[in-house]
Assembly symmetry: C2
Amino acid sequence: MPRLGMEPLRRRALIDATLNAVGERGSLDVTMSEIAARAGVSSALAHHYFGAKDDLLFATMRHLLAELHREAVPALREAASPRERLDAVVAVSFSPAQFRAEIVGAWLAFYVAAQQAAPMRRLLRIYARRLHANLMAGLTPLLPRAQAAEVAEATAALIDGLYIRRALKEGEPDPVSAVALVRSYLDLRLGSQGGQA
Amino acid sequence: MPRLGMEPLRRRALIDATLNAVGERGSLDVTMSEIAARAGVSSALAHHYFGAKDDLLFATMRHLLAELHREAVPALREAASPRERLDAVVAVSFSPAQFRAEIVGAWLAFYVAAQQAAPMRRLLRIYARRLHANLMAGLTPLLPRAQAAEVAEATAALIDGLYIRRALKEGEPDPVSAVALVRSYLDLRLGSQGGQA
DNA sequence: TAATTTTGATTGACTCATCAATCAAGAAAA
DNA sequence: TTTTCTTGATTGATGAGTCAATCAAAATTA
């Protein structure tokens, strides 16, 4: 079996497996054996590549963040106006790739774990800062700074809230209505040049 | 030691201990021994009164829901107008008793656990339905039904979002600004007869 | 009232299962 | 043959749940 250059493939497979396992279960207490089995390898190999379980979980969370970033960068580059920038932030947050049940479940699990694990908390802080910065970039040209800050805070809370409600599946917010809801809030706040009545 | 009628006291102490432990740790994997120790009894006694660990956790979650309800009922009764009713819902959600770090941490932990445990999911559904009903009761006199539903959804998401952001402590939303933020949203949606500019 | 029985309250010690982490050894390339 | 992968088997720790035994208040009886 041992072909050369397996390392990157196995790392990737293990991270994907972790993501799926964590996302489905909605919690970080998945066993190394389960993760390894999903990736088609032994648990010993998972330890070989990642060291401790925590390291694998951390790497998985970082992967999640990286994916979000990878999707956000081009979307923001294409945005011509401040309002388009805001719409891009919202669109990415609820993109089909990001708003899937497993991904949302994984986010939630990491969110919780971050309360105890400092490294994860740091990662989450990066996400929060990026989101805030992106929102402010779109808002400050349109609103006085204090109002912009309030709207950014509310929008971020709205996004997080829709995520958590999505995690409690069973029919709750689909991507389309989630985007519509946040945009409708922005319309209202920005003087609704473009929203429905 | 065994005075008669210890049962209700012990049950209460164990539930409180569970709440504190879970809230501080922000996760349900606290040991029965730790909980029991906090309550000043042995782990065996916790099992004696509650059976399995799951049952104790479930009872604790139910307690949380009951406390929220107990606070909401009088507040809603005193509300004279629809708008006051809405304000009451918001006020209770962020009341000092509810918006404490441990309580919020516990809610988050239960939220996550509910993804796997059907009984907890059912409890959470009750909470969601109550919140929705209370919001709609305040909104339907003021808005067409479709809009009322959208505002209720957004408000609920906003509340949940502020909770989750609060859980990631470190300076995030204090009760006062959280209330202000949600009310400001409602002002805007309802035509702001009574909010600040 | 004093002795006796009953019963709720409580625990320490034990069992059993689970799981992360390690390690020595094996198989396939190079 | 050396290096890169890979695993089965093992270990050590932890934690849920059980059980037999103890303790002391309350109820009963004499």
